[in-house]
């Protein structure tokens, strides 16, 4: 299978079940909503080192937010349901609570599993906090030096999907980067999906474990490292001198499939040799995204 002359490998991306929450941050202006969202989703590229994965899903118009102000929707994922509230409490408390003008709302109101995040954050109010029930939802008002921070008491949690991916194998680093940027542009703002890595792109794809260091959970994906072609069992076709990976997390598998369907063709540009995907033989993750099936 080829798209614009770029080979689509007959393989699949292997992804995992994670727990996901959607956080809606609003601000007096879009700038301040984004400032908070950027801080909230900072250092949240991979559960391997960050214990969570997060990213901006899309910008929200005032008509789409509970308080009628500009907003940002963020997806936040962890590997288990215990760590999701822990991460949210710490991160919301240090990033959104601290950010001028912001308020914070649940973006998964229909999810039956509820995380008492706002309820935990309320104690920052030191007894001066107050709550309001509006439309059956409880909100906490925390007095802060600027005025008040408003946060919803609970946030919904769903089973999501983490680790959808595809690899762009290109003639050189410039071509790989241009293709990755085009793919990210095509996938940005799609509902239910985030790209948690810097600019949506990963240059340091990893394999499980290490050949040399026992304590390492993940190390460089040497079969796809062009500089190691001569000394490893390389999986790179001739002519490939740079590889970039796009990692996708989402609320469900169809959302990730839809994003891959948009992103992969966009990456099929001049200078790109092959699009492939990372997997572990299908033994680790229950979600398998077959490239040719998705694009067929």
């Amino acid at each position: 299978m080829k798209i614009n002359g770029v080979a689509i490998a007959d393989t699949f991306a292997e992804a995992f079940t994670m727990r996901v929450a959607r956080i809606v941050i609003t601000g007096r202006t879009a700038k301040w909503a984004r400032e908070a969202a950027v801080k909230l989703t900072g250092f949240a590229t991979s559960v391997i080192g960050c214990k969570c994965e997060a990213g901006i899903e899309r910008e929200l118009t005032p008509a789409e937010t509970p308080d009628g102000r500009p907003g940002i929707s963020v997806l936040f994922l962890t590997m288990d349901k215990e760590s999701l509230p822990q991460q949210l409490i710490v991160r919301l408390g240090q990033t959104v609570l601290t950010c001028p003008t912001t308020a914070c709302f649940d973006g998964l109101p229909d999810a039956p599993d509820r995380l008492a995040v706002g309820k935990a954050l309320r104690v920052f109010g030191d007894g001066f906090q107050a709550s309001k029930v509006i439309g059956g939802k409880r909100y906490w008002r925390l007095p802060v030096m600027e005025g008040e921070f408003l946060v919803e008491e609970t946030f919904g949690m769903l089973k999501g999907v983490g680790g959808g991916n595809f690899l762009i194998l290109a003639d050189d680093a410039d071509d790989a980067l241009a293709a990755a940027e085009a793919a990210v542009d095509a996938m940005t703002s799609l509902s239910g999906v985030i790209l948690p890595f810097p600019g949506g792109v990963v240059r340091s794809g990893s394999k499980v474990g290490s050949k040399r260091y026992k304590n390492m959970v993940a190390t460089t994906n040497d079969p796809f490292d062009p500089t190691l072609r001569a000394i490893t069992q390389s999986q790179l076709p001739d002519g490939v001198n740079s590889v970039l990976e796009i990692v996708l997390d989402g609320t469900d598998a169809p959302s990730i499939e839809a994003a891959m369907r948009a992103g992969i063709p966009a990456a099929c540009r001049p200078g790109v040799n092959t699009i492939t995907a990372a997997n572990f033989g299908g033994k680790l993750g229950p979600h398998h995204f077959h490239l040719r099936k998705i694009l067929g």
């Binding site: 308080d67 009628g68 308020a103 309001k132 439309g135 408003l150």
Partner: protein, 254 residues
């Protein structure tokens, strides 16, 4: 089972008609005949609801009362859910000690809306009352939770002794509003005669007020001008003769 239960005024009461049997959630388990047989007190004498109303439908928690019923008291008392709409004015004790659901009055309401039963410590403990007109004295008295929105003027002692919850008055709030308030909010979009036991805190844009007004506009169809949603409010803490954790929020401009 019908989409709604409709009560059409057939015989205007000569005296106060105590109709605390009317509650939207209660009607969900009754047919029209059973609703008509519910007891009321007319001028202190026992009667039935069917003597005053023609009842259509049954087994629904969506209830509509057609006609002005200013002599009817205690409509929606103890209501715990459902929607009750009154197409006209209504008498005192509307939504007395209710705990859930929504009462929407398309006209003025009498005294003690959302208030407490005589001698009781708590008024309404949940739900929403929307009065599209003026309301009598002591609306929201001793309320513990819930929302009362009055698009007209509030009478004397609006929110008196409130324990928590929110009262929004679009018009003028009468004297004594918020007196003995422990927690809770009185949002005054118009003039308010503020008790001296409230102390000015600051002028700011309270985020929950915008959220609440947008909710009233979106879910309840209350006309709310944008200047109130995004506006600035003076915050007065009080009642400092009580717990002092409540507030009067007075709109001062955009």
């Amino acid at each position: 089972m019908s989409d709604a239960v409709t009560l059409s005024l057939a015989a205007r009461p000569d005296h106060v008609l105590l109709a605390d049997c009317i509650a939207a959630d209660r009607f969900a388990g009754l047919d029209a005949k059973e609703i008509a047989e519910l007891p009321v007190m007319h001028g202190g004498r026992p009667a039935t609801l069917g003597e005053f109303f023609t009842i259509r439908g049954g087994h629904s928690s969506v209830v509509r009362i057609e006609g002005d019923v200013p002599q009817m008291a205690a409509i929606g008392a103890g209501m715990a859910g459902g929607e009750l709409t009154i197409d006209g004015s209504v008498g005192r004790d509307l939504g007395l000690a209710m705990s859930g659901g929504r009462i929407d009055v398309r006209g003025p309401a009498g005294d003690n809306a959302g208030g407490a039963r005589p001698g009781a410590a708590r008024g309404m403990t949940g739900g929403e009352i929307i009065v599209r007109g003026n309301v009598g004295d002591e609306a929201g008295a001793r309320m513990r939770r819930g929302i009362i929105a009055v698009t007209g003027d509030g009478g004397r002692g609006t929110g008196i002794g409130m324990i928590a919850g929110t009262v929004v008055v679009f018009g003028k709030a009468g004297p004594g509003a918020g007196r003995f308030l422990k927690r809770g909010s009185i949002v005054a979009l118009g003039p308010i005669d503020r008790p001296g036991t409230f102390r000015y805190a600051c002028t700011y844009r309270p985020p929950h007020v915008g959220l609440l007004l947008r909710y009233l506009r979106g879910r309840a169809g209350v006309e709310v001008a944008e200047r109130y949603v995004a506006g600035r409010y003076e915050r007065y803490s009080g009642d400092l003769a009580e717990l002092g954790k409540g507030e009067i929020l007075r709109w001062v401009g955009e």
